[in-house]
């Protein structure tokens, strides 16, 4: 599923920093005596998107939609079955080595406890990346100290500590410092604030905003929390069952939501007004299992406005009212044609 050519033309003006093309990953399910693959989990199914310089691209979706797998495919922690990654117009494998990609695209993980080696001190953890890339040890240590200050932790108090001695919010700051240590241009934040208390989350989000401005960073912000993505992102991708169902600028995604799944997802957020509580379930059933996805439009079994065509024909991403806003739905596409 690729973006419309008109949007690609407008993006060529400032070329995307990262391009993901038709990336696919199926996880085989092995069974039987010799572990032959009988079926696959179709985690990510041929998605394509761009990340522009200095933007924050949000990726939202529920469990099983493939957003975390996508993050790992970008940095090749999982090898894609098909597709290409291009960084700064250089393709991984031909004119871009894996090491160069990894230096430029770093990841901040979710579970902050398992994301730090319990046997290494904080400064050793942060210094590890630069040392791997050839930075002399003393310099790497000083770099670690500088980064600790930058993320709001006093190096004198924290450099020699171990992960089990610091709090969740502090561990996430260390995670961010570690990602910054190799001086990347893109940082992927995979549910990085999901496990934190709301007040700590606010502190970490402020830190991310400050760092982005100061260091001229580009973010890919993955979350299941729509409020956080609305706050942080410039553009948003909505994923469902391994595919992109909607993409566009954040304001129009939230104000003029096109795809029925995105609409249901937004309607599922708890109300903040005690006088107007939610009365109906917007999205019934469970997030589906990506082993045998439904035919045609994958959302059709749960869709409130599905028509017969939705079962047989898979919708492509069609342009919506606002520029750069696309959705994969037959019904909204039809609406567009009447314009």
């Amino acid at each position: 599923m690729s973006e419309d050519t008109s949007t690609r033309r407008t993006h060529m003006a400032d070329a995307p920093l990262l391009e993901v093309r038709e990336i696919t990953k199926f996880f085989p399910i092995k069974s039987g005596l010799f572990g032959r693959a009988t079926n696959s989990v179709r985690a990510v199914d041929g998605i394509s998107f761009n990340v522009l310089r200095r933007e924050t691209l949000g990726i939202v979706g529920e469990s099983g939609c493939g957003k975390s797998t996508t993050a790992r495919l970008i940095v090749d922690l999982i090898s894609p079955d098909k597709g290409d990654i291009l960084f700064d117009a250089r393709r991984l494998g031909t004119d871009l080595t894996l090491n160069e990609l990894r230096r430029n695209v770093q990841m901040v993980f979710q579970d902050s406890y398992a994301s730090l080696n319990p046997r290494l001190t904080i400064e050793d953890t942060i210094a590890f990346g630069p040392i791997i890339h050839g930075v002399p040890r003393e310099y790497a240590r000083r770099l670690a100290w500088e980064l600790l200050s930058k993320v709001g932790l006093d190096p004198k108090r924290f450099a020699g500590r171990y992960p089990h001695e610091i709090s969740g919010g502090q561990r996430q700051r260390v995670n961010i410092a570690r990602a910054l240590a190799v001086k990347p241009q893109i940082i992927i934040l995979d549910e990085s604030v999901s496990a934190l208390d709301k007040s700590v989350e606010a502190q970490v989000l402020n830190l991310l905003l400050d760092l982005k401005k100061e260091l001229d960073l580009t973010y890919i912000f993955i979350s299941h929390d729509l409020n956080v993505v609305k706050f942080m992102a410039d553009r948003v991708i909505v994923m469902y069952l391994g595919e992109i169902v909607e993409v566009g600028p954040v304001e129009s995604i939230y104000a003029e939501t096109a795809h029925p799944y995105s609409r249901s997802l937004l309607a599922s957020m708890p109300s903040m007004d005690p006088d107007h509580r939610s009365e109906h379930v917007a999205l019934a059933g469970d997030p589906p299992n990506p082993i045998n996805p439904p035919s045609g439009c994958r959302f059709h079994p749960r869709c409130p406005i599905a028509i017969p065509k939705c079962k047989t024909e898979k919708p492509l991403l069609h342009i919506q009212k606002t520029r750069g806003h696309l959705a994969a739905c037959h019904l909204t596409a039809q609406q567009q044609e009447t314009f």
Partner: protein, 293 residues
Amino acid sequence: MIEQKTIPLDEYTRSPSYWAIVLRRFSRDKVAMFALAIIILLFLVAVFAPYIAPADPLKGSMLRRLRPIGTPGLPLGADELGRDMLSRLIYGARLSLFMGITPVAIAFVIGSSIGIAAGYLGGLFNSLTMRTNDIFYAFPSVLLAIALSGALGAGVTSGLLSLTIVFIPPTARVAESVTTQVRKLDYVEAAKASGANNFTIIRVHVLGNVLGPIFVYSTSLISVSMILAAGLSFLGLGVKPPEPEWGLMLNTLRNAIYVQPWLAALPGVMIFMTSIAFNLVSDGLRSAMDIKS
């Protein structure tokens, strides 16, 4: 810009390292420390045997056969060939401890290497190695030890060899399982995402987190090793007479149970005490290493 100044170490809080914390926690565990004291005592007894033992463990006298405990000149009695029991027990510590620890130590090195490699690399290598491992693991250890010893012949070296082979599979299994768990953790993925190669990742991130649990498991095998070695000697494999070794002594004193039961039980008491001490130390280590609780 980073200033080129040296960082004085006393200027920043450096927490005690993991092993320092483990040692501190261990030292607070009274039971474990007591057991450790017993083991150290046994070691000293074994090392200084020639100076401590009152008599020659190999010199017997038919006149003094099966003297009871407390006989003047024979504090723990004499065995079926008239040899001083106390001296034989003291000298026996040497071989028994040796047969207990050496196979486990060698198996630790070999088993960990196999297991960590299999656990980290996964895939076909893992399947091949671990399934082969399972074949050996399927044999009950006593049977396997006897079979191997029987094939290799009696004697200390072959006894050591067969015991080492018996202990490699369980060690490898534990190593593989712990490594597989650690490999999936986010910090290993983060290290990969930093661009480190496999060797560096294993050295910096995996080993430190994996060797601990494997080591604790291995210490729990020491008592098993002692008992198996004693068993082998009892059956006539392993240590050959007249060498003093607790298991062998149990064998030769078998018939004395009807005449001097307390005497005949003495080597068993030593085996029992030493095994328990090693197990308690192993338990203590495991609790000390469990920092999160």
